[in-house]
Point group: C3
Chain length 346, copies 3
């Protein structure tokens, strides 16, 4: 299926020459031949470009009707005769670059919707796009090339570096963002954290919430995800870190560079993720725990103690994955033993 032009308009057909330049690949074929778009291996037609990433898909490759295929060299022999074969080191990455060629981000002429409420002393770049009903607070800074979606709220004093994108309904306060930060729809950044203590009468008093949120360059925050600001210190999301939808980040938590948190996972307060940590979906991490560089946590695991660099963990409470798997198989074997036989052992 080619992309629906109502949502993903194609700028123009692209020549093989332009495609090769974009994907940094090589191919035999007429460099002026034009392609109309992109599609998956089993859906692409004769004037479309596709890719194959896994040897498992070799049968689909043999059957494809695509006009051109991005692939690794060693797959070339299994492609149909008619297709233009474009050899690349990483077909998925090459395909992502072809997308940028065929579907360049629509950049409307910079506009500020007349309904946007922008504080007189906010510093908004001339080429920033401000959508309908967006609210930009006092003293806020909106950098060059930023796009602020409909109803987004940028709080007093917030700094957005160049080319940040704040999607519809997201709100951000008490925060400083680097370059290219993206908040997806409904993301909440900078609200008070969940910290309080009981007074003499047993009623809760909110703890100081005097910190900020720092979002590093190219960090992305998923739809309806939440990042609380720090108490006395900051909450920090490292550069290139990606948070999926509905992720929760407690106050004073810190992630390193290039961390990944899948959907509905969460960090309690003061957790530290070193660089390149990966959390599966619905993972939870207890407060003040540190996960070493490159640690990988399987989905739904619960982390209660520090994790060494590079270790893979699974379970609640989580353990190194091999131990967790051994426990699972041990219990399965024991449960499968007939009860009578078990009883004689007891």
């Amino acid at each position: 299926m080619a992309a629906d032009p109502r949502f993903h308009p194609i700028a123009a057909p692209q020549s093989l020459r332009a495609i090769l330049a974009a994907v940094r690949g090589e191919a035999a074929g007429d460099p002026e031949r034009l392609f109309q778009g992109l599609a998956a291996l089993d859906q692409a037609g004769p004037d479309e470009l596709t890719f194959i990433d896994s040897p498992k898909l070799a049968p689909a490759l043999a059957a494809t009707r695509a006009g051109a295929v991005l692939l690794r060299d060693e797959m070339a022999a299994r492609a149909p005769a008619g297709a233009v074969l474009i050899a690349v080191a990483n077909p998925q990455l090459a395909f992502a670059r072809a997308v940028a060629l065929f579907h360049p981000q629509r950049v409307p002429a910079a506009t500020r919707h007349p309904t946007a409420v922008i504080a007189p002393d906010a510093d908004v770049a001339d080429d920033a796009i401000i959508g309908p009903y967006a609210v930009i607070g006092a003293g806020a800074v909106v950098g060059a090339g930023c796009a602020i979606g409909p109803h987004a709220v940028v709080g007093d004093g917030v700094v957005l570096g160049p080319r940040c994108v704040i999607h519809a309904h997201a709100c951000i306060s008490h925060a400083l963002c680097g370059e290219g930060v993206v908040l997806h729809p409904g993301a909440r950044v900078g609200q008070e954290g969940f910290g309080f203590l009981a007074d003499e009468a047993g009623r809760f008093v909110t703890k100081p919430q005097l910190g900020r949120v720092i979002l590093g360059d190219f960090a992305q925050v998923g739809a309806n995800a939440c990042i609380d600001r720090g108490t006395l210190d900051d909450t920090v999301i490292g550069p290139h870190t990606r948070l999926d939808n509905l992720v929760q980040i407690g106050h004073n938590a810190r992630t390193g560079m290039g961390c990944i948190m899948a959907g509905q996972s969460g960090l309690s307060g003061s957790v530290t993720l070193e660089d390149r940590v990966v959390l599966g979906g619905q993972v939870g991490v207890a407060d003040h725990v540190r996960l070493g560089r490159g640690a990988r946590i399987a989905a739904q695991s619960g982390i209660m103690v520090d994790v060494a660099p590079g270790v893979e963990m699974f379970g609640t409470p989580a353990q190194p994955i091999r131990m967790a798997m051994r426990e699972i198989s041990t219990l399965r074997r024991l449960a499968a033993t007939p009860r009578a036989k078990q009883d004689t052992k007891e």
Copy 2:
């Protein structure tokens, strides 16, 4: 307790005749007798209608002050003498229909709030209701009888079939909806999925997000739930499927007809649910997994491999529920064995 008229105004008292027609039931009694409203079995008064669904509630039935009771035939003998007894096959369903009679949805005369921002080329039905600060994008289609809540955002090109309801603060882009689709407050539909890969320098590049979201007839999406659009293909929510609050649907996932996902459950990318699959709260499903028709997954389970039709699963990693229960009881027994006794066996 009768419904609070501030929130649920009653149109008018209803006669027994009207009630019997609405619930498709039978009863002896004056067909012109009027009832004022609805309430629970233990709270209804002499001019209110109630229902009893479970034999366990027989004592409450005997004690009820309700003027009329929806019940199954076999419960009639246990009802108090004064009440009008309305025999129906499914008392809960009959009661839901009585609600529609007493509390018809308030349908204001079609209005477009003057603050709504509607693109000049959007195709909005004359009788659609557009709330304050709603935003309707270029080329969007809003069908007959739709209701768009305050601050809701309908993106460029989005198609809403007849009688869709987009509640306050929901936003939808890159999507096509059938008839009667409901997005509850803050639902996010159509944003980019969580797909990216590392380039040569180790930085993340977003994968193509050229697909759409297709919402079938009468699908409902809970408050603050999220549905990402597909990459090259579509994300599809089948007709009559119901997603609870804070549910997460990854890109290219598909549900069949009449699936149910309880609160805070989630599907990773490319998951398939066949028709009538039921997921409990906080369930997670790993990417590319298929769950067969009518599979039922207990709360908090983690599904990592395909599930056959009709099977009930539990645990992380999930197993057929009987096996999971046997493991739980096996471990409880082993742990209860005194340590000394265990040691002699090792």
Copy 3:
């Protein structure tokens, strides 16, 4: 690090005299000495106030450069010579009170933003603050000193007691709030619950949703958290209860006074939490279950049956924590036993 004045402006320096009055503490020192702000133990400078709460931090106390320290009497001997020592019973609580002194909540002169849409018959207190694009529905009551954030939606008939704060993008309908209730950004209160049943044709019919949400005095609802209204009865959040971000509350659930639900935890329909129950992050509770006063549930646990008062539970399905821990250690020991040795036993 002192608080960033862009986000947390300091009203004025404070004298030792004022600090002692605010924290209800005692200290030797010039009562007119001025302090400029607040900071953590390891970051405070000579004109800042800090606190120490744990004996573990004694080395940091000895090294602090802070001008004044809130501490318990018994820590005084370990403080550096120059600092003013302020003896208090609860240093954290005292520090929270000092925050209120140095950083009083900014209360702008009461303003209604000209873009706010307020129904003609809404009863809004003269001193309430109504932000840009807020929507206040017909018959709604907004009490004295309330603050309604940008884009917040207060539905028809909703009652907000005095000094409630509805943050940006939150929406509330079908609800009555006491004094001092706080909804953090994107919270959803009062929408339809997740209740429906199949009709004769197998299609879902929504059950009655005729109840309300009752929020007790000083209850707080986290960012993007969701509370569904009741069906025939009410959903009730008790006074002083605090819900963290992304929490889910099903219809007819009830919490007592001073309950705590950490991030991403959820209650199914008709759950009851008695007073002072604490749920860790990502905990789930099955429908109709009751948790006794002061019960404490560890993170990620799944509660399927009633819990007695004061009991600590862990696991899915949850058990008293000591039993859960014994099972974990039993299984670890069994899995560590060499396979050959296990086999001889079978």
